[in-house]
């Protein structure tokens, strides 16, 4: 076996190993094709192209209502834990930011603290309303899956709706103001460009975080489409 061929197969096998559960089958398909391509260089090009599958992070496919129900159960359990965790984190951070707001500082710093406190208190209120919602657990399998679908929609609305955007805007703008005030206090008067270069690390990590948030939304929307297709199949009506 040539070095190029070995490299191609090595890439393919790593793609299979690192592919997300929902893409595993496709990654394996790509790997098998790489093995049958006669030209070593073509196999290498094929393998390099197959790494594209790694960008697609998706959960295991739902092939039946039973699958969907199993995934729904995991989703409900995870949400319960996460909601509780986020709620108490919000309680602590809100208390901290309100306490900081009471500490005398300059006017701009106060505005920053006020924005952060407002954002966190608003977030606390929203978390409380979200957690207070009583989730139904109907008896039939189809109804349970439909219930999961509506819960996914509620999750998307909570995390990606206008209220959520306002929440993030309030808290982030407050944090920006506070960090600016502290930077000025430490380094003296300086420009926005200095501020951006001082905080380049935070600016840099904000892009992958934003991408992850977007991918999560995309994955949930994909799941809803998948559930629609499953429910339509169950009704004997083609969803397409």
């Amino acid at each position: 076996m040539t070095l190029v061929r070995r490299l191609a197969l090595g890439i393919s096998s790593r793609v299979v190993r690192w592919a997300s559960p929902g893409c595993k089958e496709w990654a394996e398909g790509l790997e098998r094709e790489a093995a049958v391509i006669e030209s070593d260089w073509a196999a290498l090009r094929w393998s390099i192209g197959s790494t594209r599958v790694l960008l697609d992070r998706r959960e295991a496919p739902m092939t039946s209502l039973d699958d969907a129900y199993a995934i729904a159960q995991k989703f409900f359990e995870k949400r319960k834990k996460e909601n509780s965790y986020f709620f108490w984190t919000c309680v602590v951070l809100s208390a901290l930011s309100v306490a900081l707001f009471c500490v005398p500082t300059n006017f701009i710093g106060r505005i920053g603290d006020g924005l952060v406190s407002g954002g966190l208190l608003f977030s606390l209120y929203r978390m409380h309303v979200y957690r207070s919602f009583v989730v139904r657990h109907p008896s039939g399998l189809k109804d349970r899956v439909a219930n999961y679908r509506s819960e996914l929609q509620r999750y998307i609305k909570f995390n990606y709706g206008w209220a959520s955007l306002l929440n993030v805007a309030l808290t982030l703008s407050g944090l920006l103001v506070i960090s600016y005030v502290y930077s000025v206090q430490i380094s003296g008067a300086f420009t926005i460009a200095d501020y951006a270069s001082d905080n380049s690390f935070y600016i840099a990590i904000s892009f992958p975080i934003a991408l992850m948030i977007y991918m999560n939304l995309h994955e949930r929307q994909r799941q809803i489409a998948e559930l629609d297709a499953l429910l339509a199949e169950r009704d004997g009506v083609s969803a397409l």
């Binding site: 893409c23 089958e25 496709w26 398909g29 094709e33 090009r45 192209g49 629609d228 397409l240």
Partner: protein, 116 residues
């Protein structure tokens, strides 16, 4: 308007399926032999699409229940290959999309040479 309505009908049927020229190419390739199970590399060779372009399209088609997948029955000493075939819905969608793409393509030369 008729054309927009027509494309809209294809859109509605596809649940937000992306109508790219590459997707039309892949679907046209499947339509060349509707009943045959196809291998990824063969589709790639016939359409000229690279694996990184082809597989996301196949994955999207499968996600929309337009493509079915299967593993080849293993022959001795050779690992089974992944095979693909359009479902009934996929075939219907493919015929509509490919015919729209062809109509648009045949309309295009009229704009060539205008020098805009």
């Amino acid at each position: 308007l008729t054309e927009i309505l027509y494309i809209g009908r294809v859109d509605g049927m596809s649940m937000k399926m992306r109508r790219s020229p590459q997707t039309a190419l892949v679907l046209a390739e499947f339509l060349s032999d509707e009943q045959e199970w196809r291998y990824g590399y063969d589709i790639s060779r016939n359409t000229g699409l690279k694996s990184g372009t082809l597989y996301p399209i196949l994955m999207r088609l499968a996600e929309h229940r337009m493509l079915k997948t299967s593993w080849e029955t293993a022959e001795t000493g050779r690992p089974p290959r992944h095979m693909y075939k359009l479902t009934k819905d996929g075939l219907r969608y493919a015929r509509e999309l490919v015919s729209v793409a062809r109509e648009l393509a045949t309309g295009e030369p009229a704009f060539e040479g205008v020098g805009l």
